[in-house]
């Protein structure tokens, strides 16, 4: 590989595409060689996101027209809608067998074809790839990601909750049957599609739950929590939308198993002592979304509930950065042999 890797972004006109660009424009080892956006093909990126006007970037092209061998890309980020992605990636890998892929959709997150079919209502169209895909929660699957060709970047809600709970479940420190995750997300998590319920006038000065009892991120949580606990885990999970742009805060209610809230805090502190992008706050302090905005950081806090043996855990990240595009770049760094933090050092934007 040359000094700079050639990368592409499929689906560059959405929010995760823009966030990838924001991070990659400054990445010293990356050459942005391809940007696709079917509905905007032929237009400059500055038409779609004017903040990129000052930068020289490839013109947007349609996915179907890409000549993959001629592109000579080292890696693509796939920021396409759920469902179609599996077909796109299968076709892409047929034409460019050496290319590496970080997929930001949900298509390759579930390892079990039956679980996929159950949650998504149709059989998976690329089962052989599904088997090879590595789940891209970097802190947990770092070794596998380094050698993976296809990484399934986790969902934003799931990264947030999994970083807080996986170390506790692995240590059998909490009761897997008594986990309640009350999650709150900024609006960018809902994407850029024009829908009435996402209009400013609908959302501003409002707050509400959605997907109650049946949100698809549950499938990912089930998979990863069960792996961590070594038994089947099913959690209560309720997502909400907050009138803000970026950030997820998960308030998580757990019960210690021979472990006090302080013990849980100590366990997390130890687990993440050397992680550049997970920061555990002092005991009793819970995180705030504003303090991770625009950064690749996850802030985790633990406090004791007033009910004995129960703890309240807060986990906060920026849904577009560590919850999506930032973690995708983190995974790219591992896959291409770059320092893991390269291009991700930006400090949170607050205020």
């Amino acid at each position: 590989m040359s000094a700079k890797a050639k990368i592409g972004i499929l689906g560059a006109s959405g929010y995760t595409g823009a966030e990838l660009l924001r991070l990659l424009i400054r990445h010293p080892r990356v050459d942005i060689a391809l940007l696709t956006a079917d509905r905007r093909a032929g237009k400059p990126m500055s038409d779609v996101f004017p903040q990129f006007s000052p930068y020289a970037l490839p013109t947007l092209v349609a996915l179907d027209g890409v000549d993959w061998p001629a592109c000579g890309l080292d890696l693509v980020f796939c920021a396409l809608p759920h469902g179609t992605t599996q077909t796109v990636i299968r076709a892409l890998l047929a034409k460019a067998p050496a290319i590496k892929v970080v997929d930001l959709s949900a298509d390759f997150r579930l390892a079990d074809p039956a679980a996929y079919a159950r949650w998504y209502g149709h059989p998976h169209a690329a089962v052989e790839l599904q088997k090879k895909a590595v789940y891209g929660l970097t802190e947990v699957y770092r070794a596998q990601i380094k050698t993976a060709q296809l990484v399934a970047n986790p969902g934003c809600y799931t990264s947030c909750a999994e970083l807080a709970l996986i170390p506790l479940l692995k240590a059998n420190a909490i009761d897997p049957d008594e986990i309640v995750i009350d999650a709150k997300s900024g609006m960018t998590g809902a994407g850029r599609a024009a829908k009435e319920e996402m209009l400013f006038s609908e959302v501003s000065e409002g707050f509400h739950a959605y997907g109650v009892g049946h949100h698809r991120h549950m499938a990912e949580l089930d998979q990863e929590f069960s792996l961590a606990a070594g038994r089947q885990v099913v959690v209560s999970f309720t997502p909400h939308l907050v009138p803000m742009n970026r950030g997820i805060l998960s308030t998580i209610y757990v019960r210690g198993v021979k472990a006090s809230a302080q013990d849980l805090h100590a366990l997390l502190l130890k687990s993440y002592a050397n992680e550049p992008f997970v920061h555990v706050l002092p005991f009793g302090a819970l995180p705030q979304t504003r303090h991770v905005r625009g950064s690749n950081m996850t802030f985790i806090g633990v406090a004791a509930d007033r009910i004995p043996n129960r703890a309240i855990i807060g986990s906060a990240l920026d849904n577009l950065t560590k919850g999506a595009s930032g973690q995708a770049v983190q995974n790219m760094n591992l896959m291409l042999g770059f320092p893991e933090t390269m291009g991700l050092e930006q400090v949170a934007l607050f205020p």
Copy 2:
């Protein structure tokens, strides 16, 4: 009593004071005769809240200078800070023994002097009044409120959660030991005091929990839930601040006792069938804060969790209206023999 009751507002320069005025200016049976605000004494209300410029209102006066017998008030709303209120009301009733009081502070909400001392860190200064005060959750204590001289208007978080849970606890339909209340409030709930953490630049684009494990509204919840269940109840309760002005949404995780989620929904529907200010949504629908903004309505919804036997209940109200000043006016109507809904018919302001 004459056709119009003479009322006063003690502490008119805060948000609950302004909300009382918004409602009472249009109330057909009320004459606003006294407005106090110590730091703004001598100023017109339009200096403090310019939206009242077009209305003729009494000039703000200092509390100490009020000649109570001369005022001849029928009822006062007390919107003063916690702690000092008990002394103020004791003194006031000494001078004007026939006056009725709706207190919006926390001072008279707890019936038990020991509980008060434990939660507030000092003995109650008006224990004899504490005994006579009626807890002002109108839908539950309507009969007592009608004949009360002193009504302790409930807290905003507590009204929201209690309206959702008291009928279920009274019916023994949920397990009292397994209640988790994850509450989210708009910023007006934090009042008008100038504090750094409440500045726009701190709050906007932010979301966070606070008072984790030790919020004072827990004392009220304990009291009312224990009364409803007929045994001691202690709940998990975590409040959060949302970057919006008005509204509380409580997401409540409960477990049925020989009762499905549908049973819980049916029970709430029946309980509130004739209540003008509590509306139960169709099964599966959860409420949104925007749909109650500026109204005296509480919207309650019930959905099944995917974990058997568990349900997720949403309860939404406007913290300044049904959560404070609206319920105060509702209580005043009962105390003065007016129709309960008088002056409270405004439809929610959305968008």
Copy 3:
């Protein structure tokens, strides 16, 4: 006419439709007999705007299916899109010749067919009605509105600027060639259509001008300012979108003609001394949108610029209330012989 007038709302699923309902549900002389919304026909209003769940309202029907004579309506509010409205109203009046109409679209605001064709790019389809329509700026055309069959409710930007400037132009107190109107509107002014640029994530933390040099409200301003000045007036007008829901603030730069800023203030004060819905602030104070939110009030202020002979005028109203549906109800009251302020007494919602 019976004690209650039967009214209909054509296009009830948009923001101005919802605002009309908010006001009319409480109007003591109105019976809401018809609600149309083509795409939502057959659904209850609570599906479209859940805040109306507690109220009994007619089911939404398609416009084409209405049996006008059977309906027996006294008046309809027409909240349909620009362009189609003229055809709809022409057809409606053919079938129900006695019905009165308050039209909230732009279709009948311009009296001159040539001006209409120039600004809207096509000839007017109901020129004969265009001639009979009365421009519904209530404070200026009160006498004509009382006897009108068809009232063209003004645009939100135009009401805001015209109330501030028409008295000054009529008095020849300002130079008509030197008016700059820098207007800022909340997002509800852009309606409820699902468009990318109106998503929360696009708008929040953003601020920008639009329609620079060619906004259609200019045509209205030209017409009314020219009438007031008795000569042709063309103004600089630049609208902006503010990340908030409701409210317009126009900052207007004018130059006195033998009139100081104080003189302009005195003139406005005198002009609106008896108007229930226009309030002139003390000299030097400029209005804020929050103080008129949800009310039918316009607040106007005048300050001196530091450049001699120039003044800065601020005018604020709620674009959905006085800027649209509130003024529509005000006009209905005049057309049906009700007190002008009936149903419009709500105090502004702040905070």
Copy 4:
């Protein structure tokens, strides 16, 4: 000078202090050696701004206790309140005569002692320094800044308007007597002091003008515009507060002198062709604050007004970055001989 310059921030607990840190933590040639904050002395920076928790930073100290010679700083940023700054810097330079200073207050922006006294109400306390201070609008005073010891960083409003207008005034392309600047700023421009009018509940859903006719940034505008035009210039300038955190948009009304709007656009395009931090949009496009958020960019656009010979210019920057701390770092880079864009390459954060 060693490879890394040692720098200090005086007044690190405010918003401009935090923004300096955000930028400097990643600056490859800077060692952050001193952070002062009198009221927070002894505390870690993470207490004041938790987003800095993951970074090793000096503990906050009181200004009075600093041993300047021992510190051996190369440069300090002074982010202290207006008025006291002049005394602080005079004392500091007496103790550390070689230190360089970028002052973010208003104290050294006005070159004329008489103008200072007139606008600020008291004589300047360091007139000799006032004479030596260089006005820090980088694009205009680059050469002087390179050799300056004391740079007076411009105000946020003034940078925004001056970058748009100075090239036009220098070229005599617009009439200096006919400039109207209608400016809108996010709330961080008002600082972090706890004031009632800056509370979230006051600001959200609100919009208003302030300082009408007498804002202190006028003095800077007068000074720089007069220098550019070669004659006295006095402009109309009205600032407004927008319910958002970051960003200033100035909408500027100008009249060409033998220059069309297109000519003005071409002139700006040429002036800024090689500037890294000023980007001129295509003719007719006006800038939006969201597209510069968190970046050091200024976006400028020009459109024709419908009135002949008039143009509307939009200028947008992030008040904390190019409007304050970003430009301060840009100036530091020049003063210390670093590449001008070092540490300032971050792309705007949108959404």
